[in-house]
Amino acid sequence: MRTTYRAATREALRAALRSDPRVFLMGEDVGRYGGSYAVSHGLLEEFGPERVRDTPLSESAFVGAGIGAALGGMRPIVEVMTVNFSLLALDQIVNNAATLRHMSGGQFSVPLVIRMATGAGRQLAAQHSHSLECWYAHIPGIRVVAPATVEDARGMLPAALALDDPVVIFEHASLYGLEGELADGAGPVPLVGAAVRRAGRHVTLISYGYSLHKALAAAEELLQGGIEAEVVDLRSLRPLDLETIVGSVRKTQRAVIVDEGWRTGSLAGEISASITEQAFYDLDAPVARVCTAEVPIPYAKQLEDAALPRVESIVAAARHLIGRG
């Protein structure tokens, strides 16, 4: 069935709420408003205000309440409207959600799912355009995923809810309108494990989330020049599936990582370092990174466009690696 990333996410929420009484959804404007990105539209009407809970603007308290509710036997899905506001909840996520199982010697677990929109590209300026996935991917005790397709939008949520660990799901705001095929009765998908979205021999393009689609577009363009790019979708940002990543790079001997995060300290840096650690002698050239320029994202379109990874820059980086740049 033809659907959108938004509808697939909504369907995942609906199915979870239907199938498990321990599941509930809370966050700012998930109910009456219908979700700031219309993802939860209609769920309040179907499941009522006890299970679809509008919260006050209190990120730290309602994320922490999600942790507490998970400790208390529920399977909360907490929506933090965007990653930009999640900074206000980081203490709860890093100091409580990520630590409780270990600090308690394994007595407690925190089966919590936190969803948040991420990313730039819509001229929302410096305070509303963060891509801080790399920060979350740094924290032991939580899992981090970034669905980039309708299948993953539909399937990662139930997979996350099946685990006893806190899972953070990053949904790039520019993906909600993405259309794709979804098999009827599509359900959970494996949470961990990268996916080769396109096979190729000459260079590996590694990405996730919305940037994956830029990488795929770049692969198309590279093909015009006879360059066959393999495109790897990380899917899970913590843990990283280095086996698949390194496997592909061993084959192509060249890698370009595309990441909407700022370059310095980006997830792309971690992946580049890991590839080099494991496949140094197979590399034909140093791993390249296409990231966001190191600037608070400006409002003006030409400046924002210039700051973010672009298909041309991916193509150029790949060509350069292959010595055709």
């Binding site: 209190s58 300026a125 379109k301 400046l303």
Partner: protein
């Protein structure tokens, strides 16, 4: 809180203030804000303005009334819904429009957009788009004034939704504990996006919360520009005189959706209409006509001039240059010190 409860009569004692010139200036300012935003909405639909656009339509009396009571040395901290504050503070319509067009002649050189208007020359410290994020900034500005022995007020605007944030609590405590001259201005428009006040506040009486910080407070009808100005003046005088914070709650309502993305599913047409009955502009106009301060074709003339100003602002914005892409990394850091 029902619309009814929110209605407080404007203190009669202050009507004198609404005399002649000043009164007309107030009306003119509210009209300027209204027409400016109507044009902005139109240009947003036309794709000339992008990103988020939050309209102030219906709340004009708050910015217009409060800003009358601030001097040039006072400071202003606002939110992402700050066109009204910016215009009332004297930033030119052209500079604001150009900012929303993303042009280099905008008041933030096109780097901020609608949510981040700045003007150092007017001590307008900007629109803050993280709800509650401006309050600690205002506390710090007031602390700087206190430490430098300057008798100034920092006016800090925020919405009812911000009251739920921890930063509201921390900032009011700190401002009161340290006796800092901050005028906290809560624009209570009864909604935080789609969440009604009673569904985000266990105690919906916002002014009452000031007691937890030993801060004086008052709630006034934010749809009555005269009452707003009078209350802001009383509050500001107290802040200036005693060098302590004050919490002024302005009970108002936004006539438009939260932002251009908002389908506005959470309010009834009746509710919105009942508030439109109390539109601050016709209400004040009627009062001026009744007092014969507004006569003949004065209003039409006013509208005509404003229309011209806004047209000029659009021309100014259209004519603005784009920041060159080569300057992308400008103003991330200061130039290294000599």
């Amino acid at each position: 809180m029902s619309p009814e409860q929110a209605v407080l009569p404007a203190p009669a004692a202050d009507d004198s203030r609404a005399a002649a010139g000043h009164a007309l200036a107030l009306l003119r300012l509210m009209l300027l804000i209204r027409r400016f935003e109507e044009k902005a909405a139109e240009l947003y639909s036309a794709g000339k303005i992008r990103g988020f656009l939050h309209l102030y339509i219906g709340e004009e009396a708050v910015a217009a009334g409060v800003m009358q009571t601030l001097g040039p040395d006072d400071a202003v901290v606002a939110t992402y819904r700050e066109h009204g504050q910016a215009l009332a503070r004297g930033i030119s319509p052209g500079a604001i429009m150009a900012e929303m067009f993303g042009r280099a002649n905008g008041c933030s050189r096109g780097r901020g957009g609608s949510m981040h208007l700045f003007d150092a020359s007017r001590r307008f410290y900007g629109g803050y788009a993280i709800v509650g994020g401006g309050l600690p900034i205002a506390v710090g500005l007031a602390l700087a004034d206190k430490l430098q022995g300057r008798e100034r007020v920092t006016a800090c605007f925020f919405g009812d939704g911000a009251v739920a944030e921890g930063e509201f609590h921390e900032s009011l405590n700190l401002a009161s504990l340290w006796k800092l001259p901050v005028l906290f201005l809560c624009e209570n428009n009864l909604y935080a996006m789609g969440t009604a006040l009673a569904r985000h506040q266990a105690q919906p009486d916002i002014a009452l919360k000031a007691g937890a910080y030993d801060i004086a407070a008052e709630a006034v009808d934010g749809m009555d520009v005269v009452g707003v100005e009078a209350a802001a003046r009383r509050a500001g005088d107290l802040v200036r005189r005693e060098g302590r914070p004050f919490l002024l709650e302005l009970r108002t309502y936004r006539f438009r959706a939260h932002s251009m993305y908002d389908p506005d599913l959470y309010r009834t047409k009746e509710e919105v209409d009942s508030w439109k009955q109390r539109d601050p502009i016709p209400r004040f106009r009627a009062r001026l006509e009744q007092q014969e301060l507004l006569t003949g074709g004065a209003l039409e003339e006013m509208e005509r001039v404003i229309e011209g100003e806004i047209a000029a602002a659009v021309v100014y914005a259209e004519s603005g240059a784009l920041e060159p892409v080569d300057d992308l990394l400008k103003d991330v850091y200061s130039p290294a010190p000599a």
